[in-house]
Subunit: 225 residues, 2 copies
DNA sequence: GACCTGATTTCGAGTCGTCAAAAAGGATAG
DNA sequence: CTATCCTTTTTGACGACTCGAAATCAGGTC
């Protein structure tokens, strides 16, 4: 059985691969994402390559093998199902479930995960709108525009929030931008680097570009959240 | 923060202390209970003594300090609340929750435990009838007779099952002896070392003494399970 | 082509938890 | 009081994971 450290490495690498499809993931990125030193990553990555979980190109980076990708996807599935479970059943606030799930994803058996999945009705996305991989390991990533790219003046529905930090999530909640909310982008200011939103409840909200880019939206018609 | 290994050592020692109140817990017993070699226990126990979690008498055994007892009790509280949660909310079979909880007890935060406790209505006992320690660390151990000691011919209610192994629990379930069931001990055979029971539903069941000693009962009046 | 600069690798070291096997201690029967 | 047996301790070692610092590499600059 893989240790929880191994699971963490693979999960982080999978996430980095998602962010830049096709590219090798460089050591530094893994180190930053895990909060360890680059030397540690080099050592670990060699071991993972020896186990056949990823392929390692010295000085270039790393790419998951099918075996590694499968394992990583299962960890991600556990993580996201646990997040949703903690919100919907246990009643935690969505801003705190990410950290909890970080621990639990390594402790929960497949038995329990399947029960949770059933209990929740085989959900497609977690509380942040991130897709939940299928038991077979398939991830349905949708290609959604963010608040910097979506059309102006049209109603859109928040589908996904691309930052799990408790702080950002609390801001999102305060501003009424949780997944499912409907709003429209009134204007963008190129110089000030801000966007101005009007929410369904009439509130006006401004966001900087960094924040706006993290809010992904879809057409408001069919509510898939 | 204590590692999960430390938590396991302390929890096991607490359980052994419960079984023989007042006595020092010998190394061999800890080693057997944890499935490690005696040498490992000696080394670990010295470290725990240095941390002030227990006092160590070479060649005699070990006893938890107040600090160690408190920590161990909290682990036990997490363990038993998780067991009950898995049965009542997640819907697992009671014969499988012990193993699951063994992992989860180290991964669940205090936040989540308190939510679970609330959700379950501050329960007093877990699915096996073992008492759940209070948040303050108080354990309400009741002194109950087992099927070898309770009066003959009188109705009694199963209160607690003193063996968590999935195999034994499945036998208990098959025989209709889960906590809460009412039955009476019809007779005991000293030579054959068996007891004969009559269940409330009319079924007759025989148990060997080893098994009978693990079923603890109370008067059937107020159902405290 | 020589030189920087930033990323990566190597190296030596340390912690934690574990084992196997040898040595030592303690208890008890004679 | 001693021989024996069981328990405990000691010792040396290992695997997994980590760090810090020195050495090395790759890619762009001039």
């Amino acid at each position: 059985m893989p240790t929880s450290t191994v699971e963490d490495y693979l999960k982080r690498i999978l996430l980095e691969e998602h962010r830049q499809p096709g590219a090798l993931v460089p050591m530094g990125q893994i180190a930053a994402s895990l909060g360890v030193t680059p030397g540690t990553v080099t050592a670990m990555v060699k071991a993972l390559a020896d186990s056949g979980l990823l392929s390692y190109e010295p000085y270039s980076g790393v790419r998951l093998t099918p075996a590694g990708r499968e394992l990583a996807t299962h960890v991600l599935r556990r993580h996201r199902l646990i997040e949703l479970f903690l919100v919907q059943v246990v009643g935690l606030d969505w801003s705190e479930v990410h950290g909890e799930a970080e621990q639990l994803e390594h402790a929960v058996s497949e038995r329990v995960i399947e029960r949770i999945d059933e209990l929740l009705g085989h959900p497609a996305v977690d509380p942040h709108g991130d897709p939940i991989p299928s038991p077979a390991g398939h991830v349905h990533e949708r290609d959604l525009p963010n608040l910097l790219l979506c059309p102006l003046g049209e109603p859109v529905r928040v589908a996904r929030v691309g930052d799990q930090s408790a702080e950002f999530l609390r801001l999102v909640e305060r501003s009424g931008l949780v997944p499912g909310s409907v709003l429209s982008v009134e204007s963008r200011d190129e110089t000030a680097e801000t966007v101005h939103l009007r929410l369904a409840d009439g509130r006006d909200v401004s966001l900087g570009w960094r924040a706006a880019a993290k809010i992904l939206v879809q057409s408001p018609g069919p509510n898939e959240t």
